[in-house]
Amino acid sequence: MTTESDHIVAETAARIFADLADPQTINNAHDSGWKNQLWRALSDAGLTLAWVPENLGGAGASLNDGFAILGAAGRYALPVPLAETLLAGWLLAQAGIEAPAGVMTVAPTRPRDRVTLNADATLSGTARGIPFAKDTEHIAVLASAGNATIIALVKTADCRVNEGRNLSGDSSDTVVFDRTKPVHSTQAPFDGSALMLMGATVRSLQLAGALETILAMSVAYANERVAFERKIGKFQAVQQNLARLAGETAAALAAAGSAADTIAQDTILGGAVFLEAAAAKIRAGEATAEGAAIAHQVFGAIGFTNEHILHRFTLRLLSWRDDFGSESHWASTLGGAVAARGADQFWPMLAAR
């Protein structure tokens, strides 16, 4: 449920994004000076450690506050690891580990990657597609230790980072833990799926936010651009396509919002979270392909240029859906779970909220 506090935190975030993360300004920038300035403002406002309780060094904001920040971050296609630092802070807090200052990320982010705790208390494993790893000082890791799950804080410098980039050009690195000694490690209060569920929900919110922006941009352009002596937004074909984009955006917004609300209301391991987070990531992911295609079709050639900011949104949409489980991953998992419960439990499961 939306509360007043959401509004204040989200508005602070939105104001900082508007001032320091304007997509056109960033797109035109010749260096990355804007990045430090933006991060400092976010950090000073307590947004980067929003999900860390005050006694662990954070701002102690609610889950809903953080989710609202991430929706806004999506609306700006924010190209800094705010979501990842929030997630890392949240993960560390689950184990009572104090959050360090500075930029963080989490690992693993791919459902099949595993990091394991060795007998000598070091970590081993490979985690692919870790967002912004090379830019971070610390990584919060969810690792398995036999049948148990542990949360560990690791210095990025103690890992091997093979640099990569996702479609949008943001860092997406392979992190190799080779008997890496964590700064801290503690038993987790949940199993290994928790980070994937939380990450999926976070990315769904970002996807929905980015879709909101491309919808708004596309409508504005259609109301301005003239072809065949009419605004293109007056053509029924364009109207029908934009209505579809609105539908996909609405679906992503509703699904992501529902998952976030479920986690905020319940806990990360509440009974409804699996359905909600999986469905959100699937549905928001499905919305991206059609949504991005429609927006590009409305903008035509100009939207295909580097100068135009459209690609900042569409390419992040396509990239973000790969993190914390693709649609195919979650769909096979969700479908398998529904089948295992059986037909008689299907409707009751859907109608639980």
Partner: protein, 386 residues
């Protein structure tokens, strides 16, 4: 975009979930008594007067209406729960559903007090079937092209012409109809239509059946030959129905009946796939579950926004657009996902029979109550494009 899309997050309150248990118990009793077969929409009648009266007796018709008209002053969320529980088992609600969803709210808003006193309590008791008289042979999606004429006479109006595609007219007690009382004007082509309450037993009304491609009888042509409607059955402003028609359609747009109409094939697929489906089936099923869950959460959200007094016109049109396309394509998806099932599997026959029925009704899902093209036009207007 001035108006951002909004889906309030609604958590169904405990009283809703208690109500849900009551509805399920009621359904279980009805099924046990043989009233209908769940999941088998092709079996038996879709309407059942006695059943509707029992639903009325439970207080599940006119749930959100004032108590003084027989209503129950419960929330749109509670109504949502009842609607979805009935829809998902294909309960035979056809007799009272239109009155509950559309006609009652219009009467509440526009009918004279004594008409409300007379009719609304009977709707709530499940005694009255209503139909909508909008389309005519030469006006389908374009409601304002209606030509069927109401001519002023002493004490009322006489109606001449015909309405078409009127679902349930052959079992209906009343129609809410749109009739031409004046010509359209140059400035406003929507001018000149008036909404009337029509007693279907009025002399001069003939109902001719139109059989559907499913073999079912649902549609009708209703012919008016000097049918007399008394003055107190005029609803709202004479010549001004266009001001009322938009809000009327809003009730139609995003209830759970707008995406659950072919739900049974999905439930049967889950049964057919068994507890351990292969990757192909699991993935396909999982996507359908995610899509359905999302539609339902959107629909719950719209119910919550209605309850909060908001007017989510664009959001509700989106739910209907996405929902009807989804339920229309669902049989295709289920056919694909069941393609490799053993032909001897015990529920293969049931599934095939359900699929057959679903395929046959599928075309109407994106036509009835506002076509896809019309809905997207409404959405585009809401986005500021028209």
């Amino acid at each position: 975009m001035t108006n951002q899309l909004q889906f309030d997050q609604i958590r169904l309150p405990p009283e809703c979930q208690r109500l849900r248990e009551d509805v399920r118990a009621f359904i279980a009793d009805e099924v046990a008594a043989g009233t209908f077969v769940p999941d088998r929409p092709s079996h038996g009648d879709t309407h059942n007067r006695a059943f509707s009266q029992r639903v009325g007796a439970k207080g599940w018709i006119g749930m959100t209406w004032p108590k003084k008209y027989g209503g129950h002053e419960r929330s749109f969320l509670e109504r949502h729960v009842v609607t979805e529980e009935f829809r998902v088992v294909n309960a035979p609600v056809r007799l009272h559903f239109v009155a509950d969803r559309q006609s009652g709210p219009i009467l509440l808003k526009y009918a004279p007090e004594h008409v409300k006193q007379d009719i609304l309590p009977r709707i709530c008791r499940g005694e009255l079937c209503f139909v909508i008289g909008m389309s005519e042979p030469n006006s389908g999606s374009d409601l304002f092209a209606a030509k069927t004429k109401a001519t002023k006479v002493d004490g009322g109006w006489t109606i001449n012409g015909s309405k078409i595609w009127t679902s349930n007219a052959h079992i209906a007690d009343y129609m809410l109809g749109l009739f031409r009382t004046s010509p359209a004007t140059k400035e406003n082509r929507r001018h000149g239509l008036t909404q009337f309450l029509v007693d279907m037993k009025t002399p001069g009304i003939t109902v001719n059946p139109i059989i559907q491609m499913t073999g079912q009888h649902d549609f009708n042509e209703v012919v008016f030959d000097d049918a007399f409607i008394p003055d107190d059955h005029v609803l709202g402003e004479i010549d001004g129905a266009w001001k009322q028609a938009t809000s009327e359609l809003a009730y139609e747009r995003s209830g759970p009946e707008r995406f659950l109409e072919t739900y049974y094939v999905l439930a049967e697929l889950v049964r057919a796939l068994g507890p351990d489906p292969d990757l192909r089936s699991a993935e396909g099923l999982g996507r359908l579950v995610a899509q359905l869950h999302t539609l339902r959460r959107m629909s719950v959200s719209v119910a919550g926004m209605l309850q909060a007094g908001k007017e989510p016109v664009v959001e509700s049109s989106i739910v209907k657009d996405l929902g009807t396309i989804w339920e229309q394509k669902l049989p295709e998806r289920v056919r694909d996902l069941s393609a490799f099932l053993e032909p001897d599997a015990s529920n293969r026959v049931t599934l095939d029979e359900q699929l057959g029925f679903a395929f046959k009704i599928a075309p109407k899902l994106t036509i009835q109550g506002g076509t896809t093209e019309i809905l997207r036009g409404i959405i585009a207007r809401g986005l500021g494009l028209r």
